[in-house]
């Protein structure tokens, strides 16, 4: 049994979900996603027991392309994030009715398949295929089931697609160029490609374009807020919870070890750019009256911080980034789910029209409160662990970066708590707000449980990812002895 098994379950599940018909589609999707999650856990256990769960098989002879799926702490933890969040996202959609149900659930599973493939693939071209493949389902999910008029939706989604497609094509050119040098697409061959500093710069920039658009780092972020706002809740969760992490993960897996000289050279510029994005996102979030847009900009700020951690090229930065990716994945899914619940009941995304929920639903209020606090990295939550390590890595790089980065926590606390105040507190709203259903409550409880458990005891995950990050750091530092 190897990691490709997870992918097979998800792909087969997507097909089966489509064919069982509208009535059973949601249940089938949930079962298959849980099966994939179980398989991931089982494979992780096998991996920890020292078994070889990777797959390496020749796919195309010329050019040499391998079906190469590699399991290590890094890829497995990201796969775990994907397969753990997929059932949560599916389950959170149970409350809404979608036309063409089976296509909707099948696309979500297909998306999970593509994203898990991106995390596991270590053959550059295979990785690229999965990377692009994940665009197609999210395109249709946002286009067909999103909110707003068809015209607005179309504009937002097409912009998103063309932006990301454009970025990733340059990554493809970089891969093809590397293939000419090494005659292989496998990552460890690419790591040891003998590249001149100038070539490394170009390769680094080609990768950067693809990742900066997907993360997004300013000034490539303009697609983000509109798509988050227009996409259905499940689509937004997939995008912000998992898909952005594909780019953050790829920085560690591909960009830094392949072109380390450029990474060292541009270190301060990149960290500065990412931090600028954090501040920019926070300020925009302060001004938003649209709940989903506010969350989108807060997400922009958080991923900016993660990206900055990646580019510090320190072990703490990388580990903090990985931990924060996992934590942010869960918390952002929870927050968007809460926003979706409010939107369903109040039929609005405007914060000014909300308020007074606490009086009507104390349960929902307390769960939302915990998510908000986790999002602003209160000690005791998973997010605190990641954010602390990130700030520590900034301090190792340059104390001023840490100081500026640290202010974002204050800004974050400010806009999140203000949002909480306007949305939840205040006079009782004229519109009724039904209490959370069992399904909704269960989703919140799972997410909060994960955040608290790993917030109090992050050691297993930290230990799980550290060896792989250390290996990658060796590759990154091979030129500057």
């Amino acid at each position: 049994m190897d990691v490709s098994f997870i992918l097979i379950i998800l792909l087969f599940g997507a097909g089966a979900t489509y064919f069982v018909g509208d009535k059973w589609a949601s249940k089938a999707a949930l079962i298959f996603s849980l099966a994939a999650f179980a398989a991931t856990i089982y494979i992780t256990c096998l991996y920890n027991a020292g078994e070889n769960v990777s797959l390496l098989k020749l796919w195309i002879k010329s050019p040499r392309i391998f079906l190469a799926f590699h399991a290590d702490g890094l890829s497995l933890s990201m796969t775990l994030l994907t397969t753990a969040l997929t059932p949560v996202i599916l389950y959170s959609s149970f409350g809404s009715l979608f036309p063409k149900t089976r296509a909707f659930y099948a696309l979500i599973l297909f998306m999970a398949f593509a994203m898990a493939g991106t995390f596991l693939a270590v053959d550059g071209l295979l990785y690229y295929i999965f990377w692009e493949l994940s665009l197609i389902p999210i395109y249709f999910i946002a286009l067909l089931w999103g909110s707003g008029t068809a015209e607005e939706r179309k504009k937002a989604v097409v912009k998103f697609f063309i932006y990301t497609f454009a970025g990733s094509l340059f990554m493809l050119v970089a891969f093809v160029f590397l293939y000419q040098r090494t005659h292989s697409f496998l990552n460890f061959h690419l790591y040891s490609a003998a590249l001149t500093p100038k070539e490394q710069t170009w390769i680094f920039l080609a990768f950067f374009l693809a990742y900066a658009i997907k993360i997004p780092i300013i000034p490539f972020h303009t697609w983000q807020a509109n798509v988050y706002q227009k996409a259905p809740a499940a689509g937004t969760m997939l995008l912000s919870g998992i898909m952005l992490k594909m780019a953050l993960y790829s920085i560690i897996r591909w960009q830094l070890p392949i072109a380390p000289m450029a990474a060292v050279q541009f270190k301060y510029i990149l960290v500065g750019l990412c931090i600028a994005g954090v501040i920019y996102g926070s300020i925009l979030a302060l001004k938003q009256d649209n709940l989903k847009k506010l969350l989108a900009y807060s997400s922009l700020a958080h991923v900016g911080l993660i990206a900055a951690g990646n580019y510090t090229l320190t072990l703490d930065g990388l580990r903090g980034a990985v931990l924060q990716m996992l934590a942010h994945g869960f918390v952002v899914v929870g927050l968007f789910f809460a926003a979706d619940i409010i939107e369903r009941r109040f039929a609005t995304q405007q914060i000014s029209e909300m308020g007074g929920i606490r009086v009507q639903s104390p349960k929902f209020t307390s769960m939302f409160m915990i998510l908000v606090l986790a999002s602003v990295a209160l000690p005791g939550t998973f997010n605190f662990v990641g954010e602390f390590e990130l700030l520590y890595s900034f301090a190792q790089t340059n104390i001023w970066i840490a100081v500026i980065g640290g202010t974002t926590i204050i800004l974050g606390a400010f806009y999140m708590l203000r949002m909480f105040q306007y949305v939840m507190l205040g006079e009782k709203n004229a519109k009724p707000f039904a209490d959370v259903t069992f399904n909704e409550g269960l989703v919140f409880v799972i997410i909060i449980a994960v955040l608290l458990v790993f917030g109090l005891y992050p050691k297993p995950i930290a230990d799980f990812v550290t060896p792989e990050l250390e290996k990658i750091l060796v590759y990154i530092n091979r030129f500057n002895k």
């Binding site: 692009e132 197609i136 286009l143 068809a150 093809v176």
Partner: protein, 467 residues
């Protein structure tokens, strides 16, 4: 040559069948016959002992024709495309049943021309091939005589095509003057330095003539009007079979003549860049799907011209063949859907596709896949076609060409998605009752798309046909 005889024979059988009032049998017999020939070609490719089946240079036909791997592989592709195009005919021409035998026979003759164009070893054979192909297309373009646009298309195509043929013939004459022979094998062995200057001039004229046929910029002006005016099935034939046949012939000529003309390769690169860019930019503005595909075809011709940048000839041949197969199969699938959607509508504007995702989900899905393949999104074979070509060009060290091609791929997403958006986000214009899609249209669309995806998942199979 045996393939040529078999297919020409099938064409004659079609005409005879009409006389004996066996109209219903024409298409089934033709399709079966073509599939048999395709099987024969497959056997030729697979056979370990090529002599038995006459693989390679054939003395019996006075060095007119050879069946090397390049020729055989392309012939197989052409026959496969012809099967699809012939299968679409009866449904498309159901208003003119009496002319069906003519249309099918002309398509078969066109196929013989296309095969001659890739398997020639003699310039006179090449010219025969291109003329058979062209004349068949002139007739097919004007085959809807009561439609003014079809008349215009036929006339325009004929004038332009005849002009291009004249240039080709002039080029062949110059090459004959320089070498004293039509035989490619003899020319190949001659010392290039010792040949007079008009050998190079002749090669350039041949190249220009064929650029007309593949509609590369700046020789593309006929294409949009002719594509729009011709009956849709003819447009499908032109943009898939005929274009790729001309492309394959151009590649074979350029590589075997191998004239040392200074700047020829650079010029081809410029033409490739222009074709890609102009084709894509103009396609963005089109509202008629046939016109849009015409411009997209121009840009694909530009991509295929990148194959001229090579280090290893057989790899380049394989890459060109793969790209041609990916492009044409997606093209046939797209046209099958267009035929079924626009069959009774009288025009092919984008709004006809509104709401297709709801009314005919299967056809909409096939068209989406076909367009995604043309745009070069992975797992569809169009992606690998582009990947192999880009890799080959990078190997030659032409980074700038690849960057331009990549930027063009991004532009092309813009207009391919216009159609996809129309299918999935707009509501159908007329809420009338939906006519069921004819079975052959569905079958051809699904089958050609399935082959497209299959060679995307297993590209090695296609590459091995030539390497």
């Amino acid at each position: 040559m045996d393939i040529l005889i078999a297919i020409a024979g099938l064409g004659i059988i079609c005409l005879v069948a009409e006389i004996f009032n066996l109209r219903k049998a024409i298409v089934p017999v033709t399709v079966a016959g073509l599939l048999a020939v395709l099987g024969y070609v497959g056997a030729k490719i697979c056979s370990k002992n090529p002599d038995i089946l006459g693989l390679g240079f054939d003395e019996r036909f006075h060095g007119m024709i050879s069946s090397d791997k390049y020729a055989t592989a392309f012939s197989g592709l052409f026959i496969l495309l012809a099967v699809f195009l012939v299968a679409l005919s009866p449904e498309f021409h159901k208003e003119h049943k009496a002319k069906l035998s003519d249309f099918v026979a002309i398509k078969l003759f066109l196929l013989t021309g296309a095969i001659a164009m890739v398997s020639f070893t003699n310039l006179s054979m090449f010219f025969l091939g291109i003329e058979i192909l062209s004349i068949s297309l002139y007739i097919l373009a004007a085959s809807s005589p009561k439609d003014v646009k079809s008349n215009e298309a036929g006339m325009k195509y004929f004038l332009m095509g005849a002009f291009a043929s004249g240039i080709i013939l002039f080029g062949i004459a110059l090459i004959y003057g320089a070498t004293g022979t039509f035989s490619m094998i003899d020319i190949n062995t001659m010392n290039r330095e010792a040949l007079p200057a008009w050998f190079g001039i002749g090669t350039v004229m041949l190249t220009i003539g064929l650029m007309f046929k593949i509609a590369a910029v700046p020789f593309h002006f006929w294409a949009p009007d002719v594509y729009e005016g011709s009956p849709a099935l003819t447009t499908a034939t032109m943009s898939t079979l005929a274009k790729v046949a001309a492309m394959a012939a151009l590649f074979k000529l350029a590589t075997t003549l191998n004239a040392h003309v200074p700047g020829l390769l650079t010029t081809i690169n410029i033409v490739a860049v222009l074709s890609m860019t102009v084709g894509n930019l103009l396609a963005l503005k089109q509202n008629n799907v046939k016109r849009m595909l015409a411009f997209s075809g121009i840009s694909h011709a530009g991509y295929m011209l990148l194959a001229f940048q090579f280090i290893n000839l057989s790899t380049a041949q394989g890459n060109l063949f793969y790209y041609a197969a990916a492009y044409t199969l997606a093209g046939v699938a797209a046209f099958a859907v267009i035929l079924s959607v626009c069959g009774g509508k009288g025009n092919e504007d984008v709004y006809n596709f509104n709401g297709l995702g709801k009314t005919q989900p299967l056809m909409a899905a096939v068209l989406t896949c076909a367009l995604l393949s043309m745009a070069g999104i992975p797992i569809f074979s169009g992606f690998f076609g582009k990947l192999f070509l880009f890799g080959q060009v990078l190997e030659k060290g032409r980074m700038i060409l690849v960057i331009i091609a990549v930027i063009n791929s991004i532009i092309s997403v813009g207009y391919y998605f216009k159609l996809i958006l129309a299918m999935y986000t707009k509501d159908a214009v007329e809420e009338g009752k939906q006519l069921p899609v004819p079975f052959v249209y569905t079958a051809v669309a699904v089958l050609s798309m399935a082959i497209n995806i299959a060679i995307g998942i297993y590209p090695q199979f296609v590459l091995d046909l030539i390497n």
